[in-house]
Subunit: 343 residues, 2 copies
């Protein structure tokens, strides 16, 4: 199979993107095609050890930057790495597209170029949410694509998220929780109350949706369930609070642990452990958010993705393609549409 | 002035409540009236040093528990400490009601017994949100009373929150931010877009609303602004994520810092600092969430409030009463209602 990688998207492109691809090339059985300005990509690639049989370059002279208006850029910048890469996937020249570029343009391109799966009006971003200090990850879906949702969107997020969690994160019968203000049924806004009913019906339908009920945001960091379902506004708040608290607590640790000589001595002894903690807090290392609900596989990397994030993103892209997540979602949507009454 | 304190509400009532009141009695110029079962409160009070001229007891034989259905309990348990205490405030026998009891019953009692300020259809809970490691606090409003809001509710939260932040938290021209998915205007759901417009008009009206625009959840823990405005669902997620991340990171610290002898030695040297950090994470110590939009002053303490939380709650209750926050809100609402077009 063939991975199409946006060589020009993100703060560290093309250097870190090319480096990540080069490092991965010897480790996987698939081909990686880097899309971008040949004049920059090829010389860069030559500076890194790589498996030349597994890496190719598709020339795209233009770039969509972070400042570009997403919809306009996707329509007008036909020669950009993002548009050319997505077109390659749509035309069957590749099996997945990975980009650390303009998030809005990735979503717009996904919808306009790759296209939505019939029956899914709201593709969603699923972030792999690392469980601090315990290893493993949950999938947070939607993590920011849709500020406003209808109940049947949340059911679809649950179904798509379960399929991804099972096939890519390796969870058996992934447990699905709905973010709410309390765990009791009947809590929350009209949206979550109605979504709860649909998710219950989904569970009862025997189609394999393992809905465990409402979950509170307090239990998200400990990995209370495998798939965390919410609208994109709430998902954004959860991700941003995670980052903000990690930063704020790191700051507090730095402050406290350098007050006085005894504390400084203690910190010196904990040097390695503090480094490990800092790493656990570094959410940019995880990257790799699948966009689900499209006719092709698509992965959005963090804008500040490093070579390591690219490697991790590609590692997750492999089972995403190999296990035919998109086809499984297509097959499931029709069955679950009966539940939402849209069939 | 007279503080009416629910002696029977919360996990640690009546012991910790009475202890907190006793400890505060010598420190303030106001009278504290503890409502609850005389047969339990009076003997308890005698075990703690207190200023007998400043503490009285109002007998209430019944209790509303955490398991009671809020609306039903407020209607039926007429002899409960919560109902009798609120009635005392409504009848002018007290100036503020403080309770660590059933949150739903506090909100219901606030609306049914104390009553809403005309023009305010949605009273809100404002949590004092401590800024980790930097001291001080922001006010998060609404932090959970209203799962669903209209744009004019958010404007009213901003106005009420500003008045509280100025008069109780001592902020001059408190800065007000609207929680959104990004800082640019035009982001987010229809609710926040429309609320943004109203808040802008509020700022431009010259009535003293210091609206600084959208803020991201990432910046809430560092205290990006004095008043953080959002609907109650988002507010709940922010508070719960704060608790959840603090717990999760504490767990990680415990885990990392006890791996191996060197780490253990380092931790021993940092014993005091780790204790201080744990304290900074303990959100139950802060307590004291004002319920704003009612005809009388009302403070909700955390259900697990200790004597210290009671002391802190009373300390905040003093400027809440003395600075006539409720009257200032009453006066301001009429002016801001013109902005929402409800006048």
């Amino acid at each position: 199979m063939r991975i199409i990688l946006d060589g020009m998207g993100g703060d560290n492109a093309p250097d870190e993107i090319v480096k990540g691809a080069a490092e991965t090339s010897a480790l996987i059985d698939h081909e990686i095609c880097i899309v971008g300005d040949e004049a920059r990509i090829i010389p860069l690639l030559e500076t890194y050890e790589h498996d030349a049989d597994k890496i190719s370059v598709l020339h795209a002279p233009d770039v969509i930057s972070g400042e570009d208006s997403p919809v306009k850029a996707v329509r007008q910048k036909k020669e950009s790495s993002l548009v050319k890469g997505m077109e390659a996937v749509r035309n069957g020249e590749g099996d997945i597209f990975i980009s650390a570029g303009n998030s809005g343009a990735i979503m717009s391109g996904g919808i306009f170029i790759l296209g939505r799966i019939p029956g899914i009006d709201r593709p969603a971003i699923g972030s792999t949410y690392p469980i601090l200090g315990r290893g493993g990850a949950s999938l947070l879906i939607d993590s920011g694509a849709n500020a406003e949702c209808k109940p049947h969107n949340l059911l679809q997020f649950a179904v798509m998220g379960s399929i991804y969690a099972q096939n890519v994160l390796g969870k058996e019968k992934p447990s699905v929780g709905l973010v709410n203000m309390g765990t009791e049924p009947g809590k929350g806004s009209a949206l979550v109350k109605d979504a709860y009913e649909l998710l219950e019906r989904g569970r009862e339908s025997g189609q394999g949706l393992n809905f465990i009920g409402n979950v509170e945001a307090r239990d998200v960091p400990i990995g209370i369930c495998d798939v965390i379902v919410c609208d994109g506004f709430i998902g954004n708040v959860i991700l941003k609070m995670t980052e903000g608290m990690a930063l704020s607590i790191s700051h507090l640790i730095r402050q406290k642990f350098t007050e006085g000589l005894i504390a400084k001595a203690g910190s010196a002894l904990l040097y390695n452990k503090l480094g490990e903690m800092k790493k656990a807090f570094d959410y940019t290392e995880y990257g790799g958010a699948p966009v689900l609900g499209l006719k092709s596989a698509l992965v959005k990397l963090h804008g500040s993705a490093t070579a390591k994030a690219v490697r991790n993103g590609i590692a997750r892209a492999v089972p995403f393609m190999e296990n035919r997540v998109v086809n499984t979602i297509e097959d499931s949507v029709a069955r679950f549409m009966e539940i939402t009454g849209d069939a």
